[in-house]
Subunit: 430 residues, 2 copies
């Protein structure tokens, strides 16, 4: 029992047992204590800026020496601005309403008992993430507010930064009289630790992975506990046959080009046959000016060829294009017969993330809303709005492309459950 | 590719693809069509009584010849009364409100978009059950009402009955203009079919097993899709130090003895030290009269020994007793210091199903309600109330002892999800 696997097992079991124990105290904690911990954490982050940046420098230097990409090194860095944002976000989470303990739907039943529901924490969640060390503070602050315990497993490249940040969290918890074990960082970088974390249903209630599709697929395949997972964001804009063309051009432009890398950016444009002639040349001119590559069906290509500057950016779409999340200045474009064909295409090729219809037709709008089977379905709005902050959640721990439990942007509520409560005065079942 | 496993794979993939396809039409179906299918089904079940009983006789005869237990054969039988109950339950489900399409929480955001949620079906669920053929109709009717498709896998002993019932469902769906594939029965009894059913995330969104703990544990371990599962019901009654003794005796009696086999029957009695002297002899007399075996801690045993008729029913409890669901005229009994010890004992030994406190102390009642981490937590009411019908769900597809998605009794809402809807008039993300 002294193999590395065995000792990782012992380590993770211990972490898990302590998290479960701490989760009970967190579930009992009052709003004032939880908010105090969050405000203390903001203070500690500001006070410890220099020592945090010192720890961070070890990771950043190692990443540079290892020849990692500049964008990666950039995400790793805890500059003054990033640290201040982290502190401010703790204050914002403190200002959110406390979801825990709320009782709803209380109803008197014929038997005389009163039945309702009480919102309670899930218990313990495991957060697995890649390079960004700010996820340590995001996950910690949401765990504290929602009365859960969390086990954090960050990328090995950020281990020194994450350790220093986790120490700050521990100090804040202590100062607020909450258990330090409510937020624990897996202290080792062995891969086997992830394998343990996702297969301890006794200690961990749900896993939230953040990172590339490969990581998330692997975790989902191997986990023995529920996973709140976000895979592709193959988001569609459908321009209907009856539509305000100015609005359609500006929303389509915004959905595709406002930023290319977020998961809620549009990747595919469907245009009703009746609108194609008037709409495609206009949006084609916008895309041409911005250098957006257009992967077209034959019909859309024919309409886009004459657009000045467009020709070098046009490609013939393959079947695979309809299924692809580019996260880049590329969009697939298809002319469809109308709303029925658009809904069918999206339900077949989409990733159940976010899709929007641009239309003036009420019946089409409502059918699209009801029948498109995605986490977020929109009428006359940019897919880029699909976001916890824009939706008013106040915080976002992730986005779920599943239907079970939480769907779409996941805020504090996704880290909670509802139990049944029954208030009686001696009722018996007959 | 002509091995039995390969052909089962082909069969199940075909079933899954057809269920997924049918689920889209079910999601679009209106309340009137769905209710019509349910009322047609009630009619078909009554009209086909004789042919259903003929098919059922094949299963019953085979079960008797195989020497299966009388209780098993009893559950298998489709007598006149059982069939009438099945038909009536379809009418009851038709009378329930349709959860699908309801939009809630619509709020205007600072960006100008209106954000809310719409209740939608989960898609396809798989129902795996043992002997009772009436589950075929229960699951079918709840699938129809909630706009889902279902794949049913019943016990091999009921295959002729289930096939005949599934035919009735198909006829009702057809008459209502809904897709026949919305309710499909796995037509073969091979075990490999279950293995396929629980590992097709492309086609199946959630699995609901009903049956013994062994079956449910095996399915949970092997499933690659979420499982709404119900394991133990180790339910507790805690009698507090400040309590109306008459009420405590009658509720404890009801929780334990009203029926022994349901999962919401009490299995363990905790008594506050201050109440033990007055309470235990009284409940001991009730249990003695009803022949309930009492597995006691030393303190409770000492108080129960003098109760007339109790002595032959007293045993010393072992550690294992605190974790055991007896489903029989047996109860474990422990004297505890007070509400803190009771909560700690329940959170350690309970099965997170249903637990009740009997008390006159408001602070203790509220602490118990908040801190006991179970699906249903009660004050001054019998654990036997933990039931979808008693809670007002109108129907029950199962009971969940998990916290994720659905907790406790699961009605139509547990078969649904909420998607985000965004209503705009051309808003752009800045």
């Amino acid at each position: 029992m002294s193999s590395p696997e065995a000792s990782i097992h012992v380590l993770m079991t211990d972490l898990g047992a302590r998290a479960r124990e701490a989760s009970r105290a967190m579930a009992r904690a009052g709003t004032a204590e939880k908010n105090r911990a969050l405000l203390e954490l903001a203070g500690v982050l500001r006070a410890q800026r220099e020592s945090l940046q010192q720890a961070n420098r070890v990771d950043v230097d190692a990443a540079r020496q290892a020849g990692l990409e500049p964008a990666f090194v950039d995400r790793l860095q805890l500059g003054d601005k990033v640290l201040e944002q982290m502190a401010a976000s703790c204050e914002q989470v403190a200002a959110l309403p406390d979801p825990i303990g709320e009782m709803t739907d209380l109803r008197r039943r014929p038997s005389g008992i009163t039945v309702g529901r009480m919102r309670v924490p899930l218990g313990v969640f495991g957060m697995i993430f890649e390079s960004r060390p700010n996820v340590t503070i995001e996950a910690a602050s949401l765990a504290i507010k929602s009365g859960n315990a969390v086990i954090l497993r960050g990328g090995s490249e950020a281990i020194h930064s994450n350790r220093a940040l986790a120490q700050c969290v521990g100090r804040a918890l202590e100062q607020a009289g909450l258990p330090v074990d409510a937020v624990q960082l897996v202290p080792v970088t062995d891969r086997a630790a992830v394998g343990e974390l996702i297969t301890m249903p006794r200690f961990v209630d749900v896993i939230i992975p953040r990172g590339g599709k490969g990581l998330i697929e692997r975790i989902s395949a191997e986990a023995r506990v529920p996973v709140i997972k976000h895979l592709d964001g193959n988001c569609h804009v459908y321009v209907d046959d009856d539509v305000d063309l100015d609005m359609a051009v500006s929303v389509t432009d915004n959905a595709k080009t406002q930023r290319y890398s977020p998961c809620n950016a549009a990747e595919s444009l469907l245009v009703a046959r009746a609108s194609a002639h008037a709409f495609l040349p206009r949006i084609g001119a916008v895309f041409a000016a911005k250098g957006v590559e257009m992967r077209c069906c034959a019909h859309s290509r024919a309409l886009l060829e004459p657009v000045p500057g467009a020709a070098p950016l046009l490609r013939d779409a393959t079947e695979q294009d309809w299924d692809t999340e580019y996260l880049a200045p590329i969009i697939s474009i298809k002319v469809v017969d109308g709303v029925d064909a658009a809904i069918a295409h999206i339900n077949r090729h989409g990733s159940q993330h976010t899709d929007t219809i641009l239309t003036s037709n009420h019946q089409h709008a409502m059918r699209f809303l009801r029948e498109v089977d995605s986490a977020a379905v929109m009428i006359n709005a940019s897919t880029r709005f699909s976001d916890g902050f824009e939706f008013g959640l106040g915080a976002e721990i992730g986005i779920s492309t599943d239907k079970f439990h939480a769907r779409g942007p996941v805020g504090l509520e996704g880290l909670t459950s509802q139990k049944w409560v029954v208030l009686g005065d001696g009722q018996l079942r007959r």
